[in-house]
């Protein structure tokens, strides 16, 4: 990666290079060697560990046998976001973590092999699935992230008509806008979107449900509705100085880097990212790649409590990011022209664990420090989409829609919810792969509901 720690300027070319995919693809020989190393276990634990139940030994065996199309079909059949997941899944916690070879040598590089097979399908412009025979049943989906796309793909294969309403200009949700391009280039979710569109799914972009069309209209006009709208923007910190020019929303910030326009050049800038989740890491690594001179992640707790995946943390360390643990932002300082000049943090200390087993932190009286920064990026989670949820009149708990865990049905008949919008309060998982699985399961539930009804009415 090109950085400018010595010189104070970074060129657009360097920025572009910094934002190309960081992890190299497997070469053919590596892929085939690795595929042959797979033991092809029976009732393999990796399958169980994959939230979408990809038949991993089967797709790897197909790489070994040279049946590349079969391999891609095996992956994408189980996981409509299979190409994205090959890059963004925390594999060491999922499939690779379960590989039996962890006990004997090193686990199979399942993620990389999955990428190898799906890359092949992308490069060879393969048509992997066909739409089913028209059932004349029409389903609306709010949101085209991995959850919505997965549901749409399955419904279309059953022959149902599907219309997705998407607020943004491009489909794909956070895969398109939210996960940094050096981990997930935009072309990958774009291919997954195309796979879904090719099955006849209509995606109405630039269309906000609740503004351009109402929730009520959807529930009236469609045989079923799936809410897959994810989560909202980063919430406010509630501290002074938040309105300054140089205070940014991490998700918007990453979205800017995925637009490919490179308007932002952080040469010589000092950046503080508030938070320690995956979004915070992504905002921090983006800052480095945009030429920032120094990037700190500021977190009120410690390394132990940080929610970013281990591989993300590792990635941040490799990018030379500094970590300010036990530091709670108290005030953002600015000058008269509205620019950020510093971030005042309060030092914290750890206290005995509370009932939830998590150690509490407490401000150390009078221990403050001003960090010399000129950009503050907030990455302290995402807001819930309460107005949308309420418009659908479904039961929720603080913006987490309550669902039936097998059918993903909400409290309202014919309305289903999947993905990040149901994540929280011990329910769901904020991952692309779980969004994809929920999409499949909701689609299956809707299909069986609709076909049962069809039988009854016939």
């Amino acid at each position: 990666m090109a950085t400018n720690q010595s010189e104070a300027w970074i060129s657009v070319e360097d920025i572009k290079a910094n934002f190309t995919e960081a992890h190299p693809a497997l070469k053919q020989k590596d892929a085939v060697d690795e595929a042959n190393r797979c033991l092809y276990c029976y009732d393999a634990p990796c399958i169980t560990a994959c939230p979408t139940d990809i038949d991993i030994p089967a797709f790897i065996k197909k790489i070994a046998s040279g049946n590349m199309k079969g391999s891609a079909v095996t992956i994408m059949d189980a996981n409509p976001s299979g190409a994205s997941c090959a890059r963004v899944c925390p594999t060491e916690e999922l499939c690779e973590g379960a590989c039996v070879l962890n006990h004997a040598s090193t686990p199979i590089m399942i993620g990389d092999l999955q990428r190898y097979a799906t890359d092949w399908a992308i490069k060879n412009e393969q048509v992997l699935f066909k739409k089913g025979e028209d059932t004349k049943q029409h389903i609306a989906i709010v949101g085209s992230g991995p959850a919505g796309l997965s549901a749409a793909r399955e419904l279309a294969r059953f022959g149902h008509r599907v219309t997705i309403y998407e607020a943004s200009a491009e489909a794909g949700g956070l895969n398109t806008y939210g996960i940094v391009s050096f981990r997930l280039p935009k072309e990958i979710p774009a291919w997954e979107v195309k796979q879904v569109k090719d099955l006849g799914v209509e995606i109405k972009t630039n269309t906000i449900v609740g503004k351009d069309i109402s929730a009520a209209e959807l529930t009236e006009q469609y045989h079923a509705v799936i809410i897959a709208a994810g989560m909202g923007k980063v919430p406010t910190l509630g501290i002074d100085g938040e309105e300054l020019e140089g205070v940014r929303d991490a998700i918007e910030f990453v979205k800017m880097t995925k637009s490919g326009k490179w308007e932002e050049n952080l040469s010589g800038k000092k950046v503080a990212v508030i938070g320690a989740g995956n979004t915070a890491v992504d905002a921090a690594t983006c800052s480095v790649r945009l030429g920032a001179e120094n990037v700190k992640m500021v977190y009120r707790r410690t390394e132990k409590e940080m929610t970013a995946y281990a591989f993300e943390y590792e990635f941040a360390k490799q990018d030379g990011i500094e970590f300010k643990w036990l530091s709670a932002p108290a005030k953002i300082e600015g000058n008269s022209s509205g620019e950020v000049t510093g971030l005042l943090v309060n030092k914290m200390k750890l206290e005995a664990a509370g009932e939830d087993g998590r150690q509490k932190v407490k401000a150390i009286e009078g221990a403050t420090e001003t960090l010399d920064v000129d950009l503050v990026i907030k990455a302290i989670g995402q807001e819930r989409l309460n107005p949308l949820i309420e418009a659908f009149e479904v039961t929720h708990s603080d913006g987490v829609i309550q669902i039936d865990e097998t059918t993903y049905a909400t409290s309202k008949t014919g309305v289903y919810a999947i993905g990040d919008i149901i994540f929280g309060k011990g329910q769901g998982e904020a991952m692309v792969v779980s969004a994809a699985q929920q999409g499949k399961k909701a689609a299956w539930a809707i299909h069986s509901e609709l076909t049962e009804n069809a039988v009854h009415s016939a």
Binding site: A58, S65, N67, K69
Partner: protein, 424 residues
């Protein structure tokens, strides 16, 4: 979706993948599981005169970390009562009417014995018979299996006895433990065989334990030769199939086996003249589920090649297989090294230098970087360097201008010309 249906001498099956007569087809339970997994047919574990087995039975050779590169066994034919096998065959055939069930048979070289067993298995509804003239151990000592399969007259005679009473197609399974398999294949055809299958296992001893000095496998400290199969034997089997396929007088369909582990080997055997394939070791290594990729992979291959039916593959490479004397002496390929891709392991250099024609030079460029270069004029096009090269695409064998004559000339042509030119 290509059509994978196949017919071997009139025995139809939904796809060309049959389980070979071996432990995977030992019982109705297993064969039914196999059909559920997708196998198109099964040749039942050989039925015949009662035998007893020993423990242990198998051994495998692994090669550089690849388990089961070859597989060795000293197991005999079925040790279950005939009556039980027959009942299970009948039950399986009723449950799976569209799958092929073949009874593999082996009895003493005696007309009545053959007549008796053929009638019994046909009575329970088998689709065909496979005469096991191939088992290389145990049975051979009693004049059955390979012992009779190595004598063309016995092959012909026994086939003829079977044909006297058989109502279903008769496949003769040949042993590879013979110098030229076309002799016994021909004998089978003369005896009236409707098809031949090959190969059974090759005489083998898997190894010796360097601590105990016991053979591998051993039975209470003693060993005996077994039969070898699995990936290692594929080239031997493929040649035997090809030699039979290109002989006009061996004009019966061939069921090919020996090292078929994926759709790829299956396609190779079929291109080389087999109408279908049989599999044993790969199923024993991975379970019946491997047939899923065999079917899927073959289907995708045919789609990609825009071939509508797998039957169209059969024999397509046979006309390209010939005698050495018919090869063009003037054709030339040479090795070319792509220095961009080359990782400079120098394996090609030393292979050529020590064991071929000394034509790969180790050089340095202007910057002092090492690179390898083939002196194409001296290269005989043996392929060795490209075989030992560990990197895909670093060494390519490319067609080179002919230097000993612009047009083809075979050895046979040359010899007839030269023989006409005796000293005058």
């Amino acid at each position: 979706m290509a059509n994978l249906e196949t017919s071997l001498a009139g025995i139809r099956s939904p796809n060309p993948f049959w389980l070979a007569s071996a432990p995977p087809t030992n019982s109705g339970y297993q064969v039914q599981r196999a059909f559920e997994a997708g196998w198109g047919g099964a040749v039942w574990k050989t039925l015949g005169d009662p035998i007893l087995n020993v423990s242990s039975r198998f051994a495998a050779t692994s090669f550089n970390g690849q388990a089961v590169a070859g597989f060795n066994n000293i197991e005999l034919i079925t040790d279950r009562p005939l009556e039980v096998n027959l009942r299970e065959i009948e039950e399986t055939k009723i449950k799976y009417p569209n799958h092929a069930i073949i009874a593999s048979l082996m009895v003493e070289p005696n007309q009545e014995k053959w007549h008796e067993i053929v009638k019994m298995v046909e009575a329970v509804g088998v689709d065909g018979l496979e005469l096991n003239f191939g088992c290389p151990h145990g049975m051979a000592e009693r004049g059955m299996g390979a012992a009779s399969g190595q004598v063309p007259e016995l092959v012909k005679q026994q086939t003829a006895w079977v044909k006297e009473v058989a109502q279903t197609p008769v496949i003769v399974k040949l042993t590879p433990n013979i110098t030229d398999i076309t002799f016994t294949a021909k004998a089978a055809v003369e005896g009236g065989a409707d098809a031949v299958s090959m190969i059974n296992t090759i005489n083998s001893l898997a190894g010796v334990d360097l601590d105990s000095w016991n053979t591998v496998p051993n039975v209470a400290g003693k060993g005996a030769h077994g039969g070898y199969c699995g990936p290692a034997v594929k080239p031997i089997a493929l040649n035997m199939v090809a030699e039979c396929a290109r002989r006009p007088d061996i004009n019966v369909p061939i069921s090919g086996m020996g090292g078929v582990s994926s759709w790829k080997e299956a396609a190779e055997f079929m291109l080389m003249g087999a109408s279908n394939v049989q599999v044993c070791t790969a199923a024993m290594h991975h379970g019946f589920r491997i047939v899923e990729d065999m079917i899927d992979g073959l289907n995708n291959y045919l789609d990609e090649k825009q071939i509508g039916s797998v039957a169209e593959l059969v024999g397509k490479t046979v006309p390209k297989y010939s005698d050495w004397g018919e090869l063009d002496l003037n054709y030339r390929v040479v090795a070319q090294i792509d220095t961009e891709t080359c990782i400079n392991c120098n394996k090609c250099h030393i292979a050529c230098e020590d064991t071929s024609h000394q034509c790969i030079d180790m050089l340095k460029d202007e910057q002092g970087n090492d690179f390898l270069q083939v002196r194409e004029d001296d290269c005989v096009g043996c392929n060795l360097c490209s075989i030992v090269c560990p990197v895909d695409g670093a060494i390519e064998m490319v067609e080179a201008p002919r230097k000993t004559g612009e047009e083809p000339m075979t050895w046979n042509e040359r010899q007839s010309l030269v023989s006409m030119m005796g000293v005058k």
